[in-house]
């Protein structure tokens, strides 16, 4: 199920790194994650919290959505510091139970009310990164209407929880990612998934690899990206946006399907391609997605131009 949101590229950065934060809006991301978790040392967390409110406005200048990743064990303090107008989402790491999500939801609800944010505006990203989280996948996915997408099941924290190597030449997370995706689909959420593509070097700045993953992700029908290095932003935006050729093919499929169904047949092979209800559904999805991407790119461009003008003026 599509959320209708365009979230092809995102950068995660420590909120206490002013160099990263100040430049973030120029990167062209669909979303930016201000991190209070792993990239902020424990001794600096209190100071980092004081920076979030101002950073939200700063990184949003290019039209990106702003998310904050909080700490699993510092929920109240981090949410108090993060839920301000301009915030779109809280990423809650190492989610393990529905009750945790419920608690995060309640605190966000209070803060929305206190701070003049429309009720229900702030989403929750439930990051499942442990075996227990996988075991409770569906309960977590269904725990709050603030959760709009769900998936994952791999990554550094999961590999640490399972006691396995992170960078290997096979997919060590088949079961966990499968359970999370199934839960997302059952709960009617957008699936957040990428195909397994070996990256034994572990490079997070390889734009070519990022493009290949993004393109393969799009071809599976998924739409979400995200990364750690500015080099991957443009490749992700490009790789997750349908090409002009794909748009043309989708239009043609819909035309062919209209003819096939008008003739009373459930399917037909047309020009070497099977045309049926399923292909028509995929074609409609692709056209809708292409339109959303185009709108999002325009919106970011206009927002960034305004910010540039304001800075120069």
């Amino acid at each position: 199920m599509s959320s209708g949101m365009v979230r092809r590229s995102g950068l995660t950065m420590p909120v206490n790194n002013p160099r990263f934060v100040q430049k973030a809006w120029t990167r062209g991301c669909d979303f930016i994650i201000l991190d209070l978790e792993d990239s902020v040392p424990p001794a600096e967390k209190a100071h980092a919290r004081t920076l979030v409110r101002e950073a939200i406005d700063m990184v949003a200048k290019g039209g990106a959505e702003v998310w904050v990743r909080i700490n699993h064990h510092l929920v109240l303090e981090d949410l108090e510091a993060s839920v301000w107008p301009g915030l779109k989402r809280i990423n809650y790491p190492k989610a393990e139970t529905a009750r945790e999500i419920w608690l995060v939801d309640r605190i966000i609800s209070r803060l929305e009310k206190e701070r003049g944010i429309p009720s229900g505006h702030v989403e929750i990203g439930a990051n499942v990164e442990t075996a227990l989280g996988v075991a409770n996948a569906l309960e977590i996915a269904a725990a709050s209407p603030r959760i709009t997408d769900f998936g994952g099941g791999g990554g550094y924290d999961m590999s640490r929880d399972l006691g396995v190597e992170m960078f290997v030449d096979f997919n060590q997370f088949v079961y966990g990612s499968g359970e999370l995706e199934l839960a997302a689909r059952v709960a009617g959420l957008e699936v957040h998934s990428t195909p397994y593509m070996p990256n034994p070097s572990g490079s997070v700045s390889d734009g070519d690899h990022a493009f290949r993953v993004a393109e393969a992700t799009r071809k599976l029908g998924f739409r979400m990206g995200g990364g750690l290095h500015p080099n991957v932003v443009e490749p992700q935006n490009r790789g997750l946006t349908p090409t002009a050729e794909e748009v043309e093919v989708a239009r043609r499929v819909l035309e062919m399907y209209e003819k096939v169904s008008a003739s009373g047949r459930a399917w037909a092979a047309v020009e070497g391609t099977v045309v049926d209800w399923y292909e028509a559904r995929r074609a409609r999805d692709l056209l809708e997605w292409a339109e959303l991407c185009e709108g999002r790119d325009r919106e970011k461009e206009e927002t960034a131009a305004r910010a540039m003008g304001a800075d120069n003026g």
């Binding site: 079961y175 199934l182 689909r185 195909p195 290949r212 071809k219 459930a266 399917w267 099977v274 995929r282």
Partner: protein, 257 residues
């Protein structure tokens, strides 16, 4: 309470290697029979447009009768989960072995099928409980609930992912597999093993699509599927039936089936 083994999992199963879906037309049945499937599945779901369903229901008794005239092939009906009663009333006759229900998601749907089949068995003098059900778990919810759906009725003889690649929109991935399918197949086979029912399916790989594939690709899907734990599979083109028979028998490939 822990899971219990519900059925006689070690009892010999009927030979049901190839399950060929055919649209509800007598000529389609005649053509399909020439391909030697073990099971002919007269399909009211995938091969019938929704707007053509009413006409198909009218034709169904004659089509089933035609299929039952043939020797050496079992006949199942594939019915729409939301209009089972009407389609089963029209299609169940003495000699039909059972039904396939795609998009099965709720225990109440299994109970409804059970009730309708019981009524028809009584009315038509068919042994009580003999009509079997194959649950085609081709949606996310159906897959998630596999165990509880199987355990709802002793009529459930088998489960299958059906055309899950299309229903759940699972597309070819860079590893040459349909995304998520290896996970779903294993999950389903484990549920079948735990509940003592028969897992039906083949390990399809692109360019196969919605059970459609060349005979050679079908044969290879059967070989892989058998190795994974499946005991027979659905197909949609007549020429695939022999390939499934050979694959599930462990015979070598022969061009032309």
């Amino acid at each position: 309470m822990g899971l219990v083994h519900l059925r006689g999992g070690n009892l010999p199963s009927p030979k049901r290697r190839s399950w060929l879906l055919v649209p509800p037309f007598e000529e389609a049945v005649d053509e399909a029979l020439g391909h030697g499937p073990d099971v002919l599945v007269i399909d009211m779901v995938e091969l019938v447009l929704p707007e053509a369903n009413a006409e198909a229901v009218k034709r169904l008794p004659g089509v089933v009768e035609r299929a039952l005239e043939a020797d050496g092939v079992e006949v199942f009906l594939q019915v729409n989960v939301n209009q089972m009663a009407e389609e089963l009333e029209a299609g169940i006759q003495l000699g039909v072995s059972g039904i396939v229900i795609p998009r099965l998601e709720w225990k109440a749907q299994v109970r409804q099928a059970d009730a309708v089949l019981s009524r028809l068995e009584e009315r038509q003098g068919i042994s009580a409980g003999s009509l079997q059900v194959v649950a085609s778990l081709d949606t996310a919810l159906g897959n998630h609930r596999a165990m509880e759906l199987i355990q709802t009725s002793p009529r459930v003889w088998g489960i299958s992912p059906g055309r899950v690649d299309l229903v759940m929109d699972l597309r070819p991935g860079p590893d040459g597999e349909f995304h998520l399918l290896p996970f779903l197949m294993q999950r389903l086979i484990i549920a079948a093993g735990a509940a003592g029912v028969t897992p039906l399916g083949a390990w399809w790989r692109p360019p196969a699509r919605g059970l459609m594939a060349s005979p050679k690709d079908t044969y290879e899907a059967a070989i892989r599927g058998k190795a994974l734990g499946f005991r027979g599979a659905f197909c949609i083109l007549g020429e695939q039936a022999k390939a499934l028979n050979r694959g599930f028998d462990g015979q070598g490939w022969e061009e032309g089936g």
